[in-house]
């Protein structure tokens, strides 16, 4: 055992000297390689001296792509949602590893893929359509949903929020993050949180959300049906998924 430690120490010394020399020679690439080796040698030394086996990579690369994680999150929520909420849901219930920043270019990539080979994928992460049939800013939807669910009228942000809250409350999870997420959502639904400390009761959240949903449902359904009818009549396939271009984008396209 101590022989191996001695070996490692000698190796670490040699590597440190190597890094110093590479830095002196201004050879950045070599220094980087040597530093990586040095770090791994130091890790081995730490593991050996404390009697532990060296661990594998701290976090295994996710087996599920970002795209698929977003898909799962949206399927769970069942309504258009902002990336922030999707990330939170994915973390709390699906063991997700997405960061919000990874979602920024996602929609554009999806649109590009759809335009180059339409309907080549089983589903697309697409835009929610606003009352002007343009893509709603920061709202994601799934292409497999009916058009009525992908358009957003004036009341839809609230309706979708309540729908998402019901979906979150219906999930069983022991995860602390799930309780926090539910607590955050419940706070913004009248009558959902009991006022006492601690996580809110899922049944109570569902009940309160349903009660408020009933107030908005009729008019929202009407607005959405009307929007969906207009979208179906006026837009082509790609625009139906990713929204009609706003005037500024048209201008840009003509300029280039």
């Amino acid at each position: 055992m101590s022989d191996r430690l001695d070996d490692l120490e000698r190796r670490i010394d040699a590597l440190r000297a190597g890094v110093r020399k590479a830095m002196r020679d201004r050879d950045g690439a070599a220094a980087r390689v040597l530093r990586a080796e040095l770090r791994s040698a130091e890790r081995d030394w730490d593991a050996l001296v404390s009697g532990e086996q060296p661990k594998a990579a701290p976090e295994p690369p996710p087996l599920v792509t970002v795209r698929e994680q977003v898909h799962q999150g949206l399927r769970l929520l069942g309504a258009t949602a902002q990336p922030r909420l999707i990330v939170a849901v994915s973390e709390a219930f699906l063991g997700g590893t997405i960061r919000s920043a990874q979602l920024t270019s996602l929609r554009r990539d999806e649109e590009r893929s759809f335009r180059s080979s339409p309907y080549g994928r089983p589903y697309y992460l697409c835009a929610a359509l606003t009352d002007r049939l343009s893509p709603g800013r920061g709202l994601l939807a799934l292409s497999s949903w009916p058009l009525e669910r992908r358009v957003v009228g004036p009341l839809s942000p609230r309706v979708d929020f309540l729908t998402c809250a019901i979906a979150v409350a219906s999930q069983k999870s022991e995860d602390e993050r799930a309780a926090r997420l539910l607590g955050r959502m419940a706070r913004n639904i009248p009558g959902a949180s009991s006022g006492a400390l601690g996580p809110p009761h899922p049944e109570r959240v569902i009940e309160a959300a349903r009660a408020e949903l009933a107030v908005h449902a009729e008019r929202d359904t009407r607005d959405r049906a009307e929007l969906a009818r207009r979208a179906a009549a006026q837009l082509d396939d790609a625009a139906r998924l990713f929204g009609a271009a706003t005037l500024s984008t048209i201008k840009k396209e003509y300029v280039t």
Partner: protein, 376 residues
């Protein structure tokens, strides 16, 4: 006819004052800062002419440490997106608690959906519709774009949110990331937020008036949203901005009646920086400083948080030993005593009080006596 001519003269005079640089557009912060020191002639002239005060201050060697830190900006943006997340869910909760917004009122319009250059027209259309039939209108308008005329120029303003409440009144919502701790917030920060919100109230009132609606449909109470007690949980308060509105209105009319101020100025006066080919000012610093000294400033310590020229004016006030340096309150109490040296002279009796200064001289002597007693 003569009115028209006069107006043309004013514009020409202001252009001459600004010199060769293009006018600087005003944003809400700058307009709000106008209301912070309404009595300052130097500031009224420079803003009226659209002079780049920042560049002038830099050139004079008194750059002001303005511009928020990237951390503050990020923090502000994160807090704003938190309040506005999921169709303004947090904001709705607070408006329900604070204004008693009915459950049914949740309609949300994101004005930004139409693309940048249509935003103002779209805001106009939406607000017009909302003011016309309150029954079926929206509740929250996100990212609206309002305009305000500042001395002949159009300034574009972006309030955080305009909330529409069923009582037929609009409320401006201002989201700020400074903390409220135990119900208390930094008074200076609140005052700045109130001034900024007053600019939006005025702009929205102007818009309604243009559309032929009652401008008083915009409430003078604005909703200020801040994080509470070191957590990121937002809390809303109503702030009355009537006073700020009055000051702002006075300041804006003052800027449009600049001819009176201009009439007192020498004809050859200009604040021109004479930028060279690379845009750097080439005018001798002493000459520019001299030009500025020919206008009267009213320096107060509050200027340090609002005006780009603050350090220049502070330096000037210091050299003159003006009592302005000590803050508005002290200056007002020293009514009639203009300089620190004069006040000190009155206090230790070296100087005899002039007519009307007897009272203040007595107070100052008393204060001096008390001070001496404390020290010995």
């Amino acid at each position: 006819m003569s009115g028209l001519k006069r107006e043309g003269d004013t514009v020409q005079r202001l252009d001459a004052l600004r010199g060769t640089t293009p006018p600087r557009p005003h944003d809400a912060r700058a307009i709000a800062a106008l209301a912070a020191n309404p009595g300052c002639t130097r500031r009224a002239l420079m803003d009226g002419a659209g002079v780049d005060k920042d560049a002038a201050a830099r050139h004079l060697g008194f750059p002001a440490p303005f511009g928020q830190s990237p951390f503050a900006i990020t923090r502000g943006n994160v807090f704003e997106s938190l309040v506005k997340a999921d169709g303004c869910a947090e904001l709705l909760r607070m408006l329900r608690e604070l204004l008693g917004l009915p459950i049914a009122e949740v309609a949300y319009h994101d004005v930004e959906n139409v693309g940048a250059h249509l935003r103002h027209a779209h805001t106009r259309a939406l607000i017009d519709r909302a003011a016309r039939d309150a029954q079926d209108a929206g509740t929250l308008y996100d990212h609206p774009l309002l305009t305000l005329q500042i001395a002949g120029h159009t300034a574009y303003l972006e309030p955080d949110v305009v909330a529409f409440q069923l009582g037929g009144r609009f409320h401006i919502v201002e989201i700020k990331s400074f903390a409220v701790i135990d119900g208390q917030a930094d008074p200076a920060a609140v005052a700045a937020a109130a001034r900024q919100a007053a600019v939006y109230v005025l702009a929205l009132r102007t818009l309604l008036e243009d559309l032929g609606h009652d401008p008083l449909k915009v409430s003078h109470e604005v909703v200020l949203v801040c994080p509470e007690n070191f957590a990121n949980r937002p809390v809303a308060t109503l702030v009355d901005v009537r006073r700020q509105l009055a000051v702002l209105r006075r300041q804006l009319t003052r800027m449009t009646t600049l001819d009176r101020l201009l009439a007192d100025l020498p004809d050859d006066l200009t604040f021109d920086l004479r930028p060279g080919e690379d845009g750097r000012p080439t005018r001798p610093v002493a000459e520019l400083a001299d030009a500025l000294h020919r206008t009267t400033a009213r320096y107060a310590p509050d200027c340090l948080s609002t005006c780009d020229l603050c350090f220049f004016c502070r330096d000037e006030a210091r050299q003159e030993g003006a009592s302005d340096l000590l803050g508005r309150q002290v200056r007002d109490e020293l009514g009639g005593v203009a300089s620190v040296a004069e006040a000190l002279g009155l206090a230790d009796g070296v100087r005899d009080p002039a007519e009307g200064q007897e009272e203040i001289a007595r107070l100052l002597r008393n204060a001096e006596r008390l001070r001496r007693e404390c020290l010995t």
